[in-house]
């Protein structure tokens, strides 16, 4: 009678306070049946990684609008790996210039979702990433 629930941490690293996007995603994912842990704005990569481990999430979704994504997204990926939690899939969203996406993917961010992304696209990504793990 096992019922495996997918758990997702939605976190905002960096210093911008624009959390509307993160909250929207959290809410949309809840409506899709996921358990979403939301930790609010201005989280350090260290706090995000500790939270991801304690909450035993399958995914970490990072939202950033300040421009520090090339620094902070890979840092989260690296810290997860260093903590023996490299199996947790990291994806991102916010205002991410197109030309930065290849770099971020190369550094271990599984997907980037910009403005205009539909919930369906994110769910398809989550489901296929989960099935392949």
């Amino acid at each position: 009678m096992a019922v495996k629930k997918t758990r997702i941490l939605i976190a905002k690293p960096g210093l911008d306070g624009h959390d509307r996007g993160a909250k929207f995603i959290a809410r949309a994912l809840r409506d899709e049946g996921y358990e979403v842990i939301y930790t609010g704005i201005r989280q350090t990569p260290e706090a995000i990684v500790q939270t991801a481990i304690q909450e035993d999430v399958d995914f970490v979704g990072l939202s950033l609008l300040s421009g520090a994504h090339n620094e902070l997204f890979p840092r989260v990926v690296d810290l997860l790996a260093a903590s023996g939690a490299g199996d947790i899939v990291v994806f991102g969203g916010g205002i991410i210039p197109e030309q930065d996406i290849p770099f971020l993917k190369d550094r271990g961010v599984a997907a980037i979702f910009g403005p205009g992304t539909t919930t369906k696209q994110i769910v398809e990504f989550l489901e296929s990433a989960r099935d392949s793990s």
Binding site: M1, A2, V3, K4, K5, R7, A26, R27, L29, R30, D31, E32, G33, Y34, E35, V36, I37, Y38, T39, G40, Q43, T44, E46, A47, Q50, T51, I53, Q54, E55, D56, S83, G84, A85
Partner: protein
């Protein structure tokens, strides 16, 4: 990775994994809980309950700081409701506790209620055992924001902190059965708001009627010389929290000396065993009577008035018992 050993060593990943296995009702969960059980009993378990927005998470956040100052390892289980429609949940309690996120002596876990009623999740009791066996000395369980009857927390806690705030109802509300009866320590949070003193007076008034011979473990029946403290706090302004912690400490000592803690813990185990038994019987019934498969047909028969509720169920149970006799 041997989960039991790793949990005992305090490996965070192992603790988190074990909790998930329990929550997800994975087949290995029962054996894990049993293997950890002998190492439990060392933690003080504090239930924190109250209406939505009363300030439970912020209070817990402040209490964590003070517990850490006393050198204790702290764990928090924060329960939030699952959506009855999608089964999903937004777990946002730890938002107010994130200052402790990177403290290695603090473990915070959010739990969705997953359809369980009573203010907690079905797995909360077993998750407490994991954290207890992992060596956390103070374990806070924050319930979902409760109304008047979500009182399951009393079956899990050594001490229940009931968080109230001004402006949420008059003394008649306060006299209602249920949640007002389970508090060991009453906290009037947001004490800077108008009406806080009046609320305090009302709580004192209601507590003065308290029945001194309530059943064991039944909340503020801890009377006999042990009175229920009432504290005024403002969690956001970090005001009154030290007094609150002092009150928790002396209350804990008092109930321990009076033999009440032991009594409560026995009561808890009794409730827990009954809970496991109930669940197991349910599972057995479902396996043998195939309730889930047959329910639509039974419902249809009842709807057509072709069957009567008690006769139908009694017949099913009789058949089940007959079958079992045949098995032996």
């Amino acid at each position: 990775m041997d989960l039991v050993t790793e949990v005992r060593l305090g490996n965070l990943r192992a603790i988190a994994r074990t909790i998930s296995l329990i929550e997800d009702l994975e087949p290995e969960a029962e054996a894990l809980v049993d293997a950890l059980y002998p190492y439990t009993g060392g933690a003080r378990i504090l239930g924190v309950t109250g209406s939505p927005g009363a300030g439970k998470s912020t209070l817990v956040d402040r209490l964590i700081t003070l517990e850490r100052r006393r050198g204790r390892k702290v764990a928090v289980i924060a329960v939030d409701p699952s959506s009855p429609f999608s089964g999903g949940a937004i777990l946002g309690d730890r938002l107010r506790m994130q200052t402790h996120a990177i403290d290695p002596g603090v473990f915070i876990r959010s739990m969705a209620s997953r359809g369980f009623l009573g203010g907690i999740a079905a797995a909360t009791g077993d998750v407490i055992k994991v954290l207890d066996a992992a060596g956390y000395q103070s374990i806070f369980i924050e319930t979902i924001g409760v109304g008047q009857t979500e009182i399951k927390i009393v079956e899990l806690s050594d001490i229940v902190l009931l968080v109230l705030m001004p402006g949420a109802g008059d003394e008649i509300q306060a006299m209602k059965a249920g949640v007002m009866e389970i508090g060991d320590i009453f906290i009037i949070n947001k004490k800077d708001l108008p009406g806080a003193d009046k609320l305090r007076a009302e709580v004192e008034y209601v507590l003065s009627f308290k029945n001194p011979v309530q059943a064991a473990g039944g909340g503020n029946g801890d009377s006999e010389g042990v009175s229920n403290p009432i504290l005024m706090t403002s969690a956001v302004q970090d005001d009154g929290i030290e007094q609150l912690q002092e009150a928790i400490e002396s209350y804990a000592t008092e109930i321990e000396n009076a033999g009440k803690l032991e009594e409560k813990r026995r009561y808890r185990l009794e409730r827990e065993l009954l809970g496991v038994l109930n669940r197991k019987i349910h599972e057995l019934m479902d396996l043998h009577i195939e309730v889930s498969r047959q329910l639509p047909e039974w419902t249809e028969r009842l709807y057509r008035r072709d069957a009567r509720p008690y006769a139908l169920i009694n017949e099913q149970i009789r058949n089940f018992l007959e079958e079992r006799k045949g098995d032996q």
